[in-house]
Subunit: 264 residues, 2 copies
DNA sequence: TCAAAAGTGTTACGCTTACACCCATGA
DNA sequence: TCATGGGTGTAAGCGTAACACTTTTGA
C-alpha cells in the first residue's frame, strides 16, 4: 500500500532459476468504487455500499463494483458502476489503488478455477443531493430495511463488515480523501453548488478531525485565497444570523492549481 | 490519471441495456517499474531502461517489466523485476498507477488474440552505488553501446522514445518523485548511506527545479528538524572546505511521519 | 431580550526570505 | 594567497494561532 523498504525473502533472492518459470496467471479484472458523499444536514460522511446477492460473500455488504468487459477501459467500467448504482449527473473520479485480488495471498488460496481476480479500485465523490442509490429509498437511514434495499449510503463511522478485502479499500479511500482535502479543492465536489462557510468548515472538521484551525482563521484564509465568490443570497437555518452562500469559482482557482496551497 | 469531473458520452448515460452485456475481458497482467537512481558525481537523475528483443517494439527501449505468474502477487512480481534487472540489496518500492494496457484505447485496437494486457506500474528508488544493471557495464554512459548492453541507466533529461505507453508511465513516476520529495524522506533512499548537505540540496535542485530556497536556509531548516545526524567524518572533494557527512536518522524522524513537513 | 450562529478585529509569535559574512581546504 | 565550496548570522516581513468582540437573526 504505502511504499516499502523491505526485501523479499532472502531464499528467493539470488536464485538464477534452473527450473522453468511458472506459467503466467490469467486474470479477470474488477473495478471497485469507494464512493463518498457528505450529508450536510446530518453532518455525516457517507459511503455507498451494495448488498451482495450472489455466491461469494452473499448477503454481505460490499463496495459497488463490476468486472471489466471486452472493449471497455478501466475508467469506463468505473463510470458504468457509478451510473448503475447511483443516479448521478456529476462526479469526481480517480483511480485509487490496485489490489492483488479477492484472494489476498495468492499462494495460499490456490487458483480455484485457474483464474485470478484483480481489483482496480476507484475513488469517487458525489453530491448527496444529486445522487440517490438506484434501488434504495435514497436516504440509507436503515429505517426501511426491506429485501429490495440493496444499495445504500452508510455513515463512514459505522460501516458494517465488508466482503472481500473491501475494508482495506475503504480505509485507503478515506486516507485519500483526507489527503486531497488538504491541498485540492475536492471539497466542492461533495458540497452542494452553493454552500456556507460553516458548511465547508464542518466538512473539514468531520473528515480531518478536530485538530483544526479556528473557524475564524479558516474563514479569513479561505476568503483571502479568492476562489470563493459570494452569491449575495443568504441561508436562513433556524436561529442565528443568516450565513452568506458562496460558490466555488474554478476560474479564480486556476492560478493556484497544484501549488502548496493548504486549507488546514 | 488525475481525477476527472468529466462525464462519459451522454448517449450511453441512461440506457437500461435491453441487449445482453458484452462478455468479460480476459487479461494478462504486467508489472512495469520506473526505477530511479541519482548519480551524485555527475549530478543526474537516472532511469533504468531495457532494450527489447522480442516482438512488439523490438529494438526499442522500455521500462523493465514482466508478466505476473501463477501464484505471484503484484508486488512480488515488481520485486522480481528489480532483482533481475539491477543487482540491488536495498530499494524503495511503491505502486504507481494501473494503465489500461499497451492498447491505449481498447475499442480501437480490438483484442488481437482475445486477451488484453494490463500494466500495473511501480515506482522504485535505488542507490546508484549499490545498484548495477544486471547486463550492462554498470554506468550507462552510452560509450560502449554493444549488442550485449540490454539494461542501462539513462539520464531522465534525455530519454529515448519508449515502447508502449511507457513515456506516460515515466512522466507519472517523475511527478510522484517530485511530490514525495517534498513531504517524505525518500531522498535518503536515493542518496548514499552518508552524504553531505549540498549533496542533498543538489538532489532537490535537480528534481524540483531551481525555484528553491536558498542553500543556507535549506540547510538551517533541515538541521533544525533534527533527523540528520552528523557522522563526524568529512568529505574532501577537491578544492574547498570539506563538508560534514550526515546520516538519516529514521528513529528521530518517526514523530514527523505523515505530518505537513515540507522540505521546499 | 436572550441564545445561537455568523462575521470582524487584534496581537504576539514563529518561520521564511534574502542577504552578508566568516571558515577551511587544495592548488 | 586565492579561488572554491562549506558554514553561520541577522534583520525585515509575512502568515498563523489564539482569542476577544460585534452583528444579525429566530424564538
Amino acid at each position: 500500500m504505502a511504499g516499502r523498504r523491505l526485501e523479499p525473502s532472502p531464499s528467493t533472492l539470488h536464485s538464477p532459476s534452473a527450473h522453468p518459470a511458472p506459467p503466467l496467471a490469467d486474470f479477470k479484472v474488477g473495478v471497485d468504487n469507494t464512493i463518498f458523499a457528505f450529508d450536510g444536514d446530518r453532518q455525516t460522511l457517507l459511503v455507498l455500499l451494495v448488498k451482495r446477492r450472489s455466491d461469494p460473500f452473499a448477503g454481505q455488504w460490499s463496495l459497488p463494483g463490476t468486472l471489466v468487459r471486452v472493449g471497455e477501459s478501466l475508467e469506463a467500467a468505473a463510470y458504468r458502476v457509478l451510473r448503475e448504482k447511483v443516479q448521478v449527473h456529476n462526479a469526481y473520479l480517480e483511480q485509487l489503488y490496485t489490489f492483488g485480488g479477492p484472494d489476498r495471498d495468492p499462494r495460499e488460496a490456490a487458483d480455484s478455477f485457474g483464474i485470478r481476480y484483480l481489483s482496480v479500485s476507484y475513488f469517487a465523490l458525489v453530491r448527496h443531493g444529486d445522487a440517490s442509490p438506484a434501488n434504495g429509498d435514497g436516504h440509507g437511514d436503515g429505517s426501511s430495511d426491506g429485501d429490495s434495499a440493496l444499495i445504500r449510503w452508510h455513515p463512514f463511522t459505522n460501516l458494517p463488515p465488508l466482503a472481500f478485502d473491501h475494508d482495506r479499500i475503504v480505509r485507503y479511500g478515506h486516507q485519500r480523501l483526507r489527503n486531497k482535502l488538504e491541498y485540492s479543492p475536492i471539497a466542492f465536489d461533495v458540497l452542494p453548488e452553493t454552500f456556507t462557510l460553516s458548511d465547508l468548515y464542518r466538512l473539514y472538521q468531520i473528515v480531518l478531525g478536530d485538530q483544526f484551525s479556528d473557524y475564524s482563521n479558516f474563514r479569513t484564509r479561505l476568503l483571502k485565497l479568492g476562489f470563493l465568490c459570494d452569491t449575495g443570497s443568504k441561508a436562513h437555518r433556524g436561529a442565528g444570523r443568516p450565513a452568506s452562500l458562496y460558490r466555488f469559482d474554478a476560474k479564480a482557482f486556476e492560478p493556484l492549481r497544484d501549488r502548496p496551497l493548504v486549507f488546514v
